[in-house]
């Protein structure tokens, strides 16, 4: 599911996955147990719904179908399902975009020194 949400994750090495998981675990550590249980339950529900719709679990779907299916859940008429997708994507985004080297690759350059850093680094900006 994570690679459906952030396609870059499908081609990364084990170290990036480890960092992604570590940041997600860290993000969940301060949250109530009930929220974590809801998340686990939602992931199971996604798999069940995939079986109902495609006669196979989410993990057995190809990339395009996974994307279409999760997108349909994001627009589901039931709020709890839309919220579930929102929570899932938030965690995956946290795990991926929270990494320093990913932020650097995006071109995000904010520095404490602000304009002073721009003037010092000149052409790098």
């Amino acid at each position: 599911m994570a690679a459906t949400i952030v396609p870059e994750l499908s081609g990364v090495d084990e170290e990036v996955w480890r960092r992604t998981e570590a940041l997600i675990t860290q993000g969940l550590s301060g949250r109530p147990d009930a929220m974590v249980r809801q998340l686990v339950l939602f992931i199971r529900v996604v798999n069940v719904l995939a079986v109902v719709r495609f006669l196979r679990p989410f993990t057995a779907l190809d990339d395009a179908r996974r994307l279409r299916f999760l997108s349909s859940l994001e627009n589901a008429p039931i709020l709890a399902i839309r919220r579930g997708v929102w929570g899932l994507r938030t965690l995956v985004f946290m795990g991926y975009y929270g990494q320093d080297d990913v932020r650097a690759r995006l071109g995000y350059r904010a520095k404490s020194l602000g304009w002073r850093a721009v003037r010092q680094e000149g052409a790098d900006w």
């Binding site: 459906t4 949400i5 952030v6 396609p7 870059e8 940041l23 860290q26 993000g27 301060g30 949250r31 994307l67 999760l70 997108s71 994001e74 627009n75 709020l79 839309r82 919220r83 997708v85 929102w86 994507r89 938030t90 995956v92 985004f93 946290m94 991926y96 975009y97 929270g98 320093d100 990913v102 932020r103 690759r105 995006l106 071109g107 995000y108 350059r109 904010a110 520095k111 404490s112 020194l113 602000g114 304009w115 002073r116 850093a117 721009v118 900006w125």
Partner: protein, 508 residues
């Protein structure tokens, strides 16, 4: 074992409200009174402000910035630190519009008086307009786009001193430039003899007393240890001032049983629901350097919305965009070419939107998006999209559109592409930082919680001094109005001090 302490005045919270009251009571301290501020969050060292979102957000915000409304459709941002939310705001400083204060209709609240007090804090906090050379392209393009779309952008006065333009205001200024209460009012209060205890969470309020739990930092956690030893304290005070924010103050009073005597307690909650729009340009722009929020477009009176420039961090940006997958990733990879605008609806108080606590004392904020709020956000999104295209953007990501990416050649179809039917709660990431109401000011307990001086009806020893006092939306960034009202509360405390001390003496 519960430890005991006694003070003349006890202030709960150290943000715009609590910090203001603390400083304004220095003359009382100099006259021999004792004043204590208890703050739930910690005191941070200057070198702890790293500007990294996953590092700072869990340290500075309630629930790490992920506090959700009861139905989980909106996140509420509340700062928890020495300085409260003034540590994490952008320092934009506006005085309340006269029409808003008149609409509030609070007997005894004079507009000229409120403005005079707000202006006092404008001067104290070095509020000014940034010079042209410090305005980045993200902000300049907003001004250009407004002009092209037939709007007039206005520049935000901001309360910074020595701003280096880190763009990291919402993660706590790493250069200590933002003049929040953590930099101005609280240090002055401490120098003037006010005592401040951090990591001190108020569990409940009793008659002229509060029960406080002082915690200690977890291993590896940011922030200094508390000034007091960990444990539970019962602190008696002749006067108790609640300044824990709209949600914090209301829920604390509800948890302490005041709801039975104050039927309006927790009612009248409102906020400025907001989401982020992103415009993608063909070239790189300066967006992650410079003050992030320098301009705004105020259509609150006419159309119920405000647009503000903004610039967020990669994770916050990613979660704020609608959708996921390849198109989302493509937009994220264009980060250096993104222009951002924040859409805010200036929601009015609506029946049913309120703060409650459950039987276990847990806070819940009930908020429903009314059709008029949704229409305001949709209308504002169309305006912002025209502004992006007017500024030269090639495409715009608009949350209430499906698909959310709108190409430039679709500009004639904005009314169809951006529509209320695409505003689906749970799908669109909505957040609010301006939380108001719950202890609204007014004439009596049947219509309100406090009088125009923040005195809780029926409890002359208990006052409120934060945005929970607002009887309706302030329709602008609220902190100067909070400071103006808190200044009035402090004046009332000084005037009533002898009476309250005599009452406490009789009880003791």
């Amino acid at each position: 074992m519960v430890k005991h302490a006694q003070y003349d005045v006890l202030i709960v919270g150290s943000g715009a409200g609590g910090g203001t009251v603390a400083q304004a009571l220095i003359p009382l301290v100099q006259a021999g009174a004792s004043v204590l501020v208890v703050e739930k969050g910690p005191r941070f060292r200057d070198d702890e402000f790293t500007g990294h979102e996953l590092d700072m957000a869990p340290a500075l915000y309630e629930d790490g910035g992920g506090f959700l409304t009861a139905d989980g459709t909106m996140t509420l941002a509340m700062g928890v630190a020495y300085g409260g939310s003034t540590v994490v705001y952008t320092g934009t400083s506006l005085t309340a519009p006269e029409r808003v204060i008149r609409h509030w209709g609070v007997p005894g609240l004079d507009y000229a008086d409120l403005v005079a007090r707000s202006e006092k804090y404008e001067a104290e906090n070095n509020v000014h307009l940034l010079p042209d050379e410090e305005i980045n392209e993200n902000n300049r393009l907003f001004v250009e786009g407004c002009h092209a779309a037939g709007y007039e952008a206005r520049q935000f006065p901001v309360n910074v001193k020595g701003c280096l333009g880190s763009s990291l205001c919402n993660l706590g200024c790493p250069n200590q430039a933002k003049q929040g209460t953590n930099r101005v009012q609280l240090p002055r209060a401490e120098r003037g003899g006010v005592e401040i205890v951090t990591r001190a969470e108020v569990l409940r309020i009793e008659e002229r007393a509060v029960v406080v739990r002082v915690g200690e930092p977890r291993p590896g956690e940011k922030g200094e240890p508390s000034e007091w030893k960990p444990g539970d304290y019962r602190v008696e005070a002749a006067t108790v001032v609640l300044a824990a924010g709209a949600v914090g103050s209301s829920s604390l009073l509800l948890r302490s049983g005041f709801g039975s005597r104050l039927p309006r307690l927790g009612e009248g909650f409102t906020c400025h629901p907001a989401f982020i729009l992103v415009g993608e340009h063909e070239r790189e722009i300066t967006n992650d350097v410079g003050h992030p929020k320098s301009y705004y477009l105020d259509r609150a009176e006419e159309e119920g919305w405000v647009l503000e420039t903004c610039m967020y961090f990669p994770f916050v940006t990613a979660k704020s965009l609608t959708g996921f997958g390849p198109s989302h990733s493509t937009l994220m990879r264009a980060f250096g070419r993104l222009q951002m605008i924040l859409v805010l609806a200036t929601d009015k108080v609506t029946a049913g939107n309120r703060i409650t606590v459950d039987r276990r004392g847990r806070t819940a904020v009930h908020y429903t998006f009314t059709p008029s709020v949704v229409e305001s956000m949709v209308d504002a999104t169309r305006a912002a999209t025209r502004i992006f295209f007017g500024a030269g953007a090639a495409r715009v990501h608009a949350p209430p559109a499906n698909p959310p990416l709108i190409e430039r050649d679709e500009i004639s179809r904005l009314d169809k592409r951006i529509h209320a039917r695409f505003f689906r709660t749970g799908r669109v990431s909505v957040s609010a930082a301006h939380l108001m109401g719950g202890c609204g000011m007014g004439r009596d307990a049947s219509q309100s919680v406090t009088d125009a001086w923040g005195r809780v009806h029926g409890h002359p020893w208990l006052r409120v001094a934060d945005a929970s006092l607002f009887p309706d939306s302030v329709e602008i960034n609220p902190y100067l109005t909070i400071m103006g009202l808190a200044d009035r509360v402090a004046e009332g405390i000084i005037n009533d001090h002898a009476v309250n001390c005599a009452s406490l003496g009789e009880e003791r």
